[in-house]
């Protein structure tokens, strides 16, 4: 997943270097390519270390549970609000177009497909990239620059396992849960609008909504949410764990955690949609 980002970066560097007409074109390309491949190698090493440390004992169960609470429970109000508003607004905006074709009764089906297949995982992931990803980048970044991570290391403990593995596992577990919850809340928002306009009952609305959803929709939605959760965790932790240059570095880590994870989430979304379309 980081590969796409780096390919884009590579193209950007090459374009930038080709525009440089001061006579140092080769040197610029060479230096930037060096940095690029060095960064790529760092990301790869970080990922490999994550998988190794995840399966090797000792395990930090308590910290994983604490992080699940931080990521999951503490994001609930925000997810509730955004999920509800998404469902409500999407229904309200879709109604006029469907009414033009006399298809307003299809609203529950349309909303269910849109929410389950795309909106719930995507909105949850984007909200969490902003809230959780930036938090991880800033927290680990400040721990790095204030030598707290070094202090863990010299006391014979494994900071990577305690800080990184627990956080990445927490986002990987909790984003799918939050995504399902966001889906439910989004449908509730939609139901309120439909009920208000057409006096459709709760049972009729949800029966119609679930009739249009198949197993593949739920499966692809959960797969996306798991992948998004992993991306948010790993990007946030990578940026924070490797931050430097004092407070400036902490700010940069938090910022990069959000920007890179959002970028990757959209790329993953696009790829998964293509794969699911082939499977359908």
């Amino acid at each position: 997943m980081f590969l796409q980002l780096y390919i884009c970066e590579l193209i950007y560097y090459i374009i930038l270097a080709s525009k440089n007409r001061t006579g140092t074109k080769k040197a610029v390309i060479s230096r930037r390519l060096d940095t690029l491949f060095s960064n790529l190698n760092d990301v790869f090493q970080f990922l490999m270390r994550f998988f190794r440390e995840t399966f090797l004992p000792p395990y930090e169960f308590k910290e994983v549970v604490r992080q699940c609470y931080e990521v999951g429970y503490k994001s609930l109000p925000l997810i509730t609000m955004t999920g509800f508003i998404t469902g409500l607004v999407f229904t309200k905006q879709s109604r006029p177009s469907l009414e033009e074709f006399g298809a307003a009764s299809w609203l529950p089906n349309l909303i269910a497909i849109a929410v389950v297949r795309a909106l719930a995982p995507l909105v949850t992931a984007l909200i969490c990239a902003g809230k959780v990803g930036s938090n991880m980048g800033a927290e680990l970044g400040s721990m790095r620059v204030t030598e707290q991570i070094d202090a863990m290391e010299v006391s014979g403990t494994n900071p990577f396992k305690f800080l990184v593995v627990s956080r990445v596992l927490a986002t990987t577990f909790m984003i799918p849960v939050l995504s399902m919850y966001a889906g439910f809340v989004g449908l509730m928002g939609s139901f309120i609008n439909v009920n208000d306009e057409e006096q459709t009952s709760y049972t009729t609305f949800f029966q119609q909504a679930f009739d249009s959803i198949v197993f593949l929709d739920i499966f692809s939605s959960l797969t996306k949410a798991i992948l998004f959760g992993f991306t948010i965790g790993i990007v946030g932790c990578y940026q924070g764990y490797n931050s430097s240059k004092g407070t400036e570095g902490v700010g940069k880590a938090a910022n990069m955690a959000v920007v890179v994870s959002m970028f990757l989430i959209f790329i993953e979304e696009t790829l998964i949609v293509q794969v699911v379309a082939v499977m359908r």
Partner: protein, 257 residues
Amino acid sequence: MEKVKFIPDTNKSVITIKNLKKSFGDLEVLRGVDLNLYQGENLVVLGRSGTGKSVLIKVISGLLKKDSGYVHVLGYDMEKIVPKELQYLRRKIGFSFQNSALYDSMTVRENLEFPLVRNRRNLTRKEINLAVEDVLEGVGLLQTINQMPSELSGGQRKRIGIARTLILRPEVMLYDEPTAGLDPITCIDINNLINEVQTTYNTSSIIITHDLTCAKATGDRIVMLLEGQFQRQGSFDEVFNTDDERVKTFYDYNFVK
């Protein structure tokens, strides 16, 4: 307060460093450092900011990798040490950071428990509590046990930082600027604590500082790091009894002559 002179047994070296070199890019920080830390002694490394004092102890603790040279710590060659051995070795080395590096999100109790529960997994809750309270009492801060680091003063943070390293009963202590940023009275308290740690826990210590009062109060032997190498070595008076302008300037500015 000048401490009673300790005569180390020069046959028992806990840390041996030969021709250590370390650079950051083009900047050569350590240019061939030779050092022996003997069993039970407090060795003070003096030098101006940016001369590589902290780099030296970070290389000793394995936080930084050397470029070349020989570093031998408690029987382990840092060149050939494997991760498991390094983790074991680190339990025997206490590192007190310049800014204390207390974990912000944990209480004092949790800060002290953190290394203990992860290195001695068979301890009961009662034993852990006892160890935490014992070491906190040793640094005179038992009353802060449930406080957060943000609620502590600079001096208290330093003491808790030292207590956190002592909980694993280290054989070697590395102090990075222990009195930096503290008022003179608190500096004296920290100096006394360093001496207490030496006698109570029988540790051998390297104290990195540019504070001559701290050096005089805690050091059994003093070395002066100048231009990436140890230029002067001996007791406090031996080090500063010289015509070397660089050393004299360092002394004069410390005591505002």
